[in-house]
């Protein structure tokens, strides 16, 4: 087990190094940030001063070595545009993203599993078919379009919910959270729903197929024959068995929710990490882009590792071996 974890950690270090190389040189190939940021009245001297201020006057490989040296000392560099440490900037946006992802995840569980159960138990009923129909929409409609439509309907036409921003926040342990205030919560409903829609559809379908498969298993038939109440069959025997794959998928989806809320955050002007990433890409703010992606790689590696370890702990049939994936 220990060997497995060490192996995985070493692999993830390699992934992170490869990622920094790709992003560092990739952003460099796209363009020079000074060309975009520069004051139009700037002459050659002023241009050179800006290049020097950002450390862009050195050859790219030297810039990379300086970057690596600083990373090893825990410094990801300073944002070109804001002048503050990139990691501090990213972390300052983290609470907003976490609470949005958390809310979306909660919605996914609260809506996805019951809907999937219903559709799985009554596959031929009208309600079951409707649930499956809507889940296809949830899958296939593009997030930005749904987001804009939700704003048009619920904010502009009906005026029920605010369209953009984060609303009032309450500071807990030094971090601002908006789900603790009524105003904050109302600002959160639309973006969280928008973010959750795809995942609700996914979980609904997973649950449904799991239920349909499990209902035909011998142990369910046996339980029924034994006279166990159908509530107990569904909520204890069936649900327990279908939850394993759902939990595995949800673990990975959580990573996706945190990392790629980019579209939702941009549309709803939600001040999280995704919006920061987009702004940084349009201004070629390399330290922030690199820092963000490094953080995301670490997060995915950590989640995968946790899932693998948990999986072997949960299911005794799975033995984690040094040679396995």
């Amino acid at each position: 087990m220990t060997v497995f974890i060490i192996r995985r950690l070493l692999q993830s270090v390699l992934v992170v190094v490869a990622m920094t190389l790709i992003v560092f040189f990739g952003v460099n190939v796209i363009g020079n940030p000074v060309d975009i940021l520069i004051n139009p009245d700037c002459d050659k001297i002023c241009y050179a001063a800006a290049m020097k201020a950002l450390g862009l006057d050195l050859p790219i490989h030297e810039q990379y070595f300086i970057f690596v040296k600083n990373v090893l000392q825990g410094d990801l560099g300073r944002s070109f545009i804001l002048g503050i440490p990139a990691i501090k900037l990213i972390v300052s946006r983290l609470p907003a993203t976490i609470e949005l992802a958390g809310m979306a995840m909660t919605m996914t569980l609260v809506f996805g599993i019951p809907l999937g159960l219903w559709a799985g138990l009554r596959p031929n009923s009208t309600s079951g078919r409707m649930i499956m129909g809507f889940s296809i929409l949830g899958f296939s409609l593009p997030t930005f379009w749904v987001g804009l439509m939700m704003i048009m309907v619920f904010s502009v036409e009906l005026g029920w919910l605010p369209p953009t921003g984060r609303g009032d926040t309450v500071t807990v342990l030094g971090l601002p959270f908006s789900f603790l205030t009524l105003d904050g919560l109302s600002h959160m409903i639309l973006p969280a729903t928008n973010l959750a829609l795809f995942h609700i559809a996914l979980v609904t379908r997973l649950t449904r197929s799991g239920v349909r498969e499990t209902m035909l298993m011998d142990f369910v038939k046996f339980a029924r024959a034994k006279g166990v109440s159908s509530t107990r069959v569904i909520f204890v025997h069936v649900l327990k068995n279908i939850l394993i794959p759902i939990v595995t998928v949800l673990g990975l989806e959580l990573g996706g929710l945190l990392a790629f809320a980019v579209v939702t955050e941009s549309i709803f002007a939600w001040p999280g990490m995704g919006k920061l990433l987009i702004e940084s890409i349009t201004l070629l703010d390399r330290p922030v882009i690199v820092g963000y992606l490094m953080l995301i790689v670490f997060m995915f590696v950590a989640i995968n590792l946790a899932v693998d370890i948990l999986y072997s702990a949960l299911d005794p049939r799975v033995r984690v071996q040094g040679s396995s994936r």
């Binding site: 139009p40 050659k44 002023c46």
Partner: protein
């Protein structure tokens, strides 16, 4: 009956709440503020804020003409010396007066701060203190643009910012300015809150409290306006303008922008990278011939671009300097749409059979830029230049256009930072010279010694009427030679709730101090 009474009560309560909020303003901003430090980065979203909090020595009015700011007056004493007087009633937010020492401190701070982008306005100037409110600026060469240079950056207080870093501005500690608003709170990416400065030299601004919310996505910005989440938005996207104008709850204000779109033809290379003959074989660069450049100009139906692609939100341009700005030449006429004339010119230049061309531009920088590029491609194809269109992201485009000079014909826009002709000519038309800043945006690599001489003379002529004449002469010569090919002026558009007012500005700035609740 009771229901009605309750409804009436609720309505009254809503009205009361409404009026209590009347002096608050929430603005949906398209450009985000990235720093409160006014000298860190010359981004658009930062300059509008530093004008609200700190104030500049010289300001621009809504027509983009200079007017007094923290300096109440200025004059040139001799060719190389300007005298500025600071307003007697100009005070920092703590009540202490704005003095020459603050100006000296600002001059010292700018070249040491951030991306050093404002250094270009101060490094070549020697500042001499005459008394607390008067100073002289001396230069090596005559500088007629001194007031415009002084309009480019914010003053900071020596007392409140000496030895402090950008972080201290962001936290509010050093954000003590002399502007119409005081800093209250900044949550990066979410909101910037300001409160009115009752002791502002030009009087208290119209709104007591202002909240600026960055909403980068233009569709979301419009939706927030429609939902009443904000009271005003800037940069209304062209496709939504007509809809907002019809909305009875909203007011839309517009003015033609200082930003003029233009085409840069590759006017110097022997062969141009994106031009080939009809047989795909390399040919001699056609854009070296001014007749071909003028043929392109005649082939463009500017009115169609403005009316169809921009829904009327633009003005056809005669030159790459907007009307109303110093140096604009009213005698230059908008090139009329004349496809037959264009064909004749191509024939005369020896390209009667046409050639193949790829044009480049952005698709995320200017109003409907991607569609305009498509339209241009079709118009050029109609006169025999078989044109392909390649829109790029601004992150890629500008480096390739002005840095590497890679294109054959490319579309870009410009609003002169100095609000007059010198940058339009010095940077876009004068012969490229890396060391002195001449021709840095001359993506045509055009070189005309006669025009260069006029520009050089103009930028060191202090006498305004004489200088304006020289600018107009140089502009006429360049435009007649097809350098650059002007297209249209963009339109600057704001939308706001009925009742409040804001005068549309040529310089695209959203300056909350000029918004009024009635």
């Amino acid at each position: 009956m009771t229901k009605r009474a309750i409804a009436a009560g609720v309505a009254t309560a809503a009205l009361l709440v409404g009026s209590a909020y009347a002096a608050d303003l929430r603005v949906g901003m398209g450009a985000e503020t990235t720093s409160i430090d006014p000298h860190y980065f010359a981004g658009f979203g930062n300059i509008q804020i530093d004008l609200a909090i700190f104030g500049h020595l010289v300001n621009y009015d809504s027509k983009f003409r200079i007017m007094p700011g923290l300096a109440e007056s200025w004059k040139s004493i001799d060719d190389k010396t300007w005298e500025f007087k600071i307003r007697s009633n100009a005070k920092w937010h703590d009540g202490s007066p704005v003095t020459v020492d603050d100006v000296i401190h600002t001059f010292k701070r700018i070249p040491e701060t951030g991306l050093k982008q404002f250094a270009v306005y101060v490094v070549d100037k020697q500042i001499v203190k005459i008394d607390d409110k008067t100073f002289h600026l001396k230069t090596q060469v005559p500088n007629p643009l001194m007031p415009n240079n002084m309009a480019a950056f914010a003053l900071v207080s020596k007392k409140h910012s000496e030895g402090l870093a950008t972080e201290d501005f962001n936290s509010g500690k050093a954000a003590i300015g002399a502007g119409p608003f005081k800093f209250v709170e900044w949550v990066k990416g979410d909101r910037l809150v300001l409160t009115a400065n009752p002791d502002y030299w030009a009087g208290k601004p119209g709104f007591d409290k202002v909240t600026l919310k960055p909403i980068g996505s233009s569709a979301s910005r419009v939706a927030s306006m429609l939902a009443g989440e904000v009271d005003m938005i800037e940069k209304v996207p062209a496709p939504d303008i007509a809809k907002l104008k019809q909305n009875a709850n909203l007011t839309v204000v517009q003015t033609p922008s200082c930003r003029v779109m233009m085409l840069h033809p590759d006017a110097s290379r022997e062969s141009s990278p994106y031009v080939t003959g009809l047989d795909d074989k390399p040919i001699r660069n056609p854009f070296r011939d001014s007749r071909v450049r003028m043929a392109v100009s005649k082939a463009i139906n500017r009115d169609a671009i403005v009316s169809r692609v921009l829904d009327g939100n633009g003005v056809a341009a005669s030159q790459h300097l907007a009307p109303g700005l110093f140096g604009h030449n009213p005698n230059i006429k908008v090139e009329a749409y004349d496809p037959e004339g264009a064909k004749k010119l191509l024939q005369a230049a020896g390209y009667g059979q046409g050639f193949k061309l790829t044009i480049h531009g952005t698709n995320d920088r200017y109003d409907n830029d991607g569609q305009i590029l498509e339209a241009l491609g079709q118009m050029l194809s109609q006169v025999g230049i078989q044109t392909k269109v390649e829109p790029l992201s601004l992150t890629v485009f500008f480096g390739r256009l002005y840095g590497k000079v890679e294109f054959s014909l490319a579309m870009a826009g410009n609003c002169p930072g100095t609000a007059e002709a010198s940058s339009s000519l010095k940077e876009f038309v004068a012969t490229f010279n890396a060391s002195d800043g001449y021709g840095i945006y001359n993506a045509h690599r055009y070189s005309n010694p006669r025009i260069d001489a006029i520009i050089k003379e103009a930028v060191s002529t202090i006498d305004d009427p004489k200088r304006e004449k020289l600018f107009q002469e140089a502009l006429a010569a360049a435009i007649a030679d097809g350098i650059p090919i002007p297209l249209h002026q963009q339109m600057n558009t704001w939308a706001m709730r009925k009742g409040m007012t804001y005068e549309a500005r040529t310089d695209e700035m959203t300056l909350v101090q000029f918004a009024r609740p009635n």
